[in-house]
Amino acid sequence: MSSPFATPALRLKNDLEGGEDVWAFVNRLRIKHNAINHGQGFPNWSSPQFVKQAVINAVTNDFNQYAPNTGLLELKKQIAKETSLKYGNRFALNENNIQITNGCAGALDCTFRAFLNPGDEVIAIEPFFTFYRTQICHSGGVLKTVALDLKFDLDRNQQIWSLDVAKLKAAINERTRILVLNTPHNPTGFVLSLHEMQQIAQLIRAYPKLLVVTDEVYDRISSVDVHHFAALSADTFARTIVCCSAAKTFSVTGWKIGWTLGPASLIRCINFTSRGHSWSVNTPCQRALVDILRHAQQPYQGFPTYYAWLNDMYSKKRERMLSAITQSGMSPITPNGAYYIMVDASKYMDILRAQGVFKRLNLKDPTTYYDWQFCAWLIENVGVAVVPGSAFYDYSKFSAQSKFKFIRFAYCTSDDTIAKTAKKLKLIAKLLQPQIASKL
């Protein structure tokens, strides 16, 4: 029996239920079998030299004491300036529109903490970044999801992710306090179109209590135009909090330098929660980011800017990864942005089930979900680690009829790694469908 002092707060209930954490599950097996890491979303190459040099300079030049709790002034000014430009100079942003946070994860958590009262609903598009759920729960909110659909695109002759705005409309009600829009989207790579954003802006006019929170952490990685909900109009700007970070853009996921951007009155509330959490954010990395942002605007490795170079690099990796997956006999759903691919591996899951390799499904134990079991099999037999797709869904909706079709590949890996993975993935067909393997 647990001691009375050891009882956790009620807000941790989400952390306590749900069985083994998916990240721990994948990492444990990946390390055990020394599998190639296509699971967690961070690059396996060095951060760019100019990025590393900037923080080395900051440490040397004694930027090691407390930054202001709103964030380093020069950094806020730089972000405000660049964002004003990004938004077509229709908004005059300044340092009061920015709060520096512990990464984009910190930005989201501070936003939920600043605005959610117990019982408030938060709508997120499903599948969703797993941590939204916990963060929302800690601040008393209730997560409601609107699932993306798979539809067949005749132009591209393939399945694509699609948002049915009518579903979104049906989910919003008087209790909705926040609508989270993660675009480009993790884990699907879906990117909200301008038209979809305009439709959303229109339908939330009837809900003056609703705040939009955008997670734009992948906004520099996309093969289609990336639009900014906050920039649509003065109305959307007034009710949107933009969350972003340096992590994915500059390959420094470990620095934890992010920001929220929005109207000064809303940002002030986020300052309260940000300073309440950790007082201030790492100083040398904030200082470094000022130089990094300036540098990134200039020509880089033959491209007009670092951002153009980054996007080109990822688009090439996307193609290589898609090819590797297709050649293995699995069905990737082509993403437009971010650096993940959701892959339909149900064909192989069905084979393994038919062969009696899989344990029986027990809804109370996520390690028995078919995609989790397939990931374990993939790590052990093929040597490639990915994340089960169901981890990004609302498990309270799962049933015996659930399909558990998807696995998520991260392709923020070196070309070398992708090439090695391509070879290994060919093993799947050999192992499970030898009669077809030779034809692939």
Partner: protein
């Protein structure tokens, strides 16, 4: 057209503390300090460079590509290093490992994680007063209510002391956490071993109370510093120790802290910490591994860096206390940390008689005498300090308050 009206603007009710707290003392001091270019004896961070070996460790970590996500519990080697050093510190065959450690965004982040992990709405947190102002904000955000226990000034000895009967009276069945900051900010008071034992004994009657210690000034003390968690298996089982690199290594801006506790409690702290930012800055975590190893070795002629640090601060403490005495004010000599509370009532009286000070309006902290004196000090003398009343529970102030 839709406008940014009070609907979307309305923050969560947990922010009431931030909205009703009035003008924050830090902004008040900072504004005037900058205006008058006053010497900064207000905020708690060093105005010298961090030691060379500390900076070098960070630069190495960056150059060696420690720039991607650390695990949410914190870098394994750092947790192991801290566990090892703490085991030695606690003695008695104590064997801690990485499962007893969570890395956090500074000690501040560790405390916040503890409140987030354990406070339900209405739970009380007993703490020593005066107190670090931000405890109250954090506790409020997570639904808790503070229950301050005021330190007394022993007038003859001119020291701070803790009346254990007062502490006992504050504990009740709504108490969820007892927060012990020792060495103490702002007084420099250090809990003695016998006081810790008395507290441990008191708590036996309150099985639902967790002890959370803020030990961020552990290495800066003229008096012996004791570890509440190490008193006995019973105290270890119910104690959450929070500390950080900030004050010890003069890197207040790095935001590297840690929580040490029994494995079961650390699990909950991990849930809270990972939700707040997933992970903590990686290169600075990596640097800390090297820094901790170097710090244990001889440094600048002293047996370890920690000895050197404490010796340095001891000398500074003596100098500042002397400087304060020489200008006619009364320092309450601290044992630890790097702050000194000073009785300036004599000069406040003089300024009152000269009609320099406005009348006190309890609704406006700017009118409290110590705030006014600080403003006068910055403007007329060019030295910035913090008004002591800011570290007390303002809701308890009345006209008779000794706001000096």
């Amino acid at each position: 057209a839709f406008s940014n009206d009070e609907h979307t603007y309305k923050p969560a009710s947990r922010l009431e503390i931030d909205l009703t707290g009035g003008k924050v003392v830090w902004e008040f001091v900072e504004r005037l300090r900058v205006k008058h270019n006053a010497i900064n004896h207000g905020k708690g961070f060093p105005n010298w460079s961090a030691p060379r070996f500390v900076k070098k460790a960070a630069m190495n970590a960056i150059a060696n590509d420690c720039n991607q996500y650390a695990p949410s519990a914190g870098l394994l080697e750092l947790r192991q290093q801290i566990a090892k050093e703490t085991s030695i510190k606690y003695g008695d065959g104590c064997t801690l490992n990485e499962d007893n450690v969570q890395i956090t965004n500074g000690c501040f982040g560790g405390l916040d994680a503890a409140f987030r992990a354990f406070l339900n709405k209405g739970d009380e947190v007993v703490l020593l007063e005066p107190f670090f102002t931000w405890y109250r904000t954090q506790i409020s955000h997570w639904g808790g209510v503070i229950r301050p226990v005021q330190l007394d000034l022993e007038p003859n000895l001119n020291v701070w002391c803790l009346n254990m009967a007062k502490l006992k009276a504050a504990l009740n069945d709504k108490t969820r956490i007892l927060l012990l900051n020792t060495p103490h900010n702002p007084t420099g008071f250090v809990l003695s071993l016998s006081q810790m034992r008395e507290i441990a004994e008191l708590l036996r009657a309150f099985p639902q109370v967790l002890v959370v210690t803020d030990q961020v000034y552990d290495y800066i003390s003229a008096a012996a510093v004791h570890q509440f968690a190490a008193l006995s298996p019973d105290t270890f089982a119910r104690t959450i120790v929070c500390s950080s690199a900030s004050k010890t290594f003069s890197v207040t801006g790095w935001r590297i802290g840690w929580v040490i506790a029994p494995k079961k409690l650390i699990q909950y702290i991990n849930f809270a910490a990972r939700a707040s930012s997933w992970a903590v800055n990686t290169p600075c975590q990596r640097a800390m591994v090297d820094i901790l190893k170097v710090a244990a070795k001889p440094y600048k002629g002293l047996p370890s860096y920690y000895e050197w640090l404490n010796d340095m601060y001891t000398q500074k403490r003596e100098r500042i206390v002397e400087a304060i005495r020489q200008c006619g004010m009364i320092p309450i000599v601290p044992s630890g940390a790097f702050f000194v509370m000073v009785d300036v009532s004599k000069y406040i009286e003089i300024l009152k008689q000269k009609n320099v000070l406005k009348a006190v309006d309890l609704a406006d902290p700017h009118t409290f005498y110590d705030w006014q004196f600080c403003a006068w000090l910055m403007e007329t003398v060019g030295v910035a300090v913090i008004p002591g009343s800011a570290f007390f529970d303002a809701t308890k102030f009345d006209k008779q308050s000794d706001l000096a």
